[in-house]
Amino acid sequence: MNCPMEARHGSELLLDYTAGRLEAGEAMALEAHLESCARCRQFAQSQKAVWQALEAWEAEPVSMDFDRRLFARIEQAPVSWWERLTGQAMHHAVPVAAAAGVMILAGLMLEHPAATPVAPPRESAQVETLGPEQVQSALDDMQMLRDFNHLVRADSAEPRM
């Protein structure tokens, strides 16, 4: 076997070896090489030490109420970002429409005082106020999805080896 350290992607082979991702045959060939190559042996030993040190880093368990908090947030904001975006556009339109509706209603009531009162437009009670951060977050989501889909399409367009 040629010395991996002298090959273009040699370090990749050594990284894969310490990560345990080499096929058995490749690993055996590399191990035979390590016995005679001090440079590769040194690399592999220090990389194994890093691997073991990282393995010792155990993360804390997830909080017991993680799901409850998440579902509470989902309940609080059941609308999609698209609905929120369109809602933002409606945010300015609805008060104007509501004011116009009130004016028309008042006019009708003055003209026909005995008529049954008409209920105000229901939409006015459903308007969601959006902050700039929510709109930015929605725009981020849209951009990220666009980027992601574009990337995946570009990948799938490449011929398979």
């Binding site: 990560a19 220090s46 073991q52 040190a53 804390e60 993680f66 698209w82």
Partner: protein
């Protein structure tokens, strides 16, 4: 194209099946929280970010396309949020001292079920050293190492998550591990 099981679940979520979202959450919750924790090194911030990840997954369900592995998409969102949080210095507002336990969090896991005081101290010193070494890595190198080591992702998947080429990922990993070897190799 063959769909992975997670992508099938996500398509069911898209069709209004809330239970499938629960299955995805159960399956990936720990991996996402731990990845974010190792990225920002603050448990509270990591959980907050993980909540945002799953919230975004749920909110994006109607526009979801099963054009790649679900975990690629999931970790792309997680990495995006982690990098933003690091750039905003969000974790510094709640910075955990490396030598302290958070009072409201469970104790960190140690390998030995009944470690002595001395063993605990040695473990803590080693843990702090590892955390500091990882924290010194540039953000993208850090993300690449964490996905490579703890999520056991292939180079191609890491490349998709980070929106770069496979050779760029190999370069990121090579430089990151070079830094880590310089700082941690003595721990063997």
């Amino acid at each position: 194209m063959t769909l992975d099981y997670d992508a099938e679940l996500m398509l069911r979520v898209k069709d209004g099946d809330g239970a499938s979202f629960g299955v995805l959450l159960e399956k990936h919750r720990t991996a996402v929280v731990h990845f974010l924790y190792r990225m920002v090194q603050n448990h509270a911030v990591a959980e907050e970010l993980a909540q945002e990840v799953f919230l975004r997954v749920y909110r994006s369900r109607e526009s979801y396309e099963a054009s790649a592995r679900f975990t690629t998409w999931l970790f792309r969102i997680a990495t995006h949020l982690a990098l933003n949080a690091l750039r905003d210095g969000k974790n510094e507002k709640f910075q955990e001292r490396l030598d302290s336990e958070s009072p409201d969090m469970p104790a960190r896991q140690v390998s030995d079920a009944r470690p002595t005081v001395e063993q605990r101290m040695v473990y803590q010193v080693r843990l702090d050293e590892v955390r500091r070494a990882v924290a010194t890595l540039p953000e993208k190198q850090r993300a690449a190492v964490l996905m490579h080591k703890y999520q056991e992702m292939e180079y191609s998947q890491i490349a998709k998550v980070l929106s770069c080429s496979e050779s760029a990922v190999k370069s990121l990993l090579f430089r990151a591990y070079e830094t880590l070897r310089a700082r941690l190799a003595h721990m063997a």
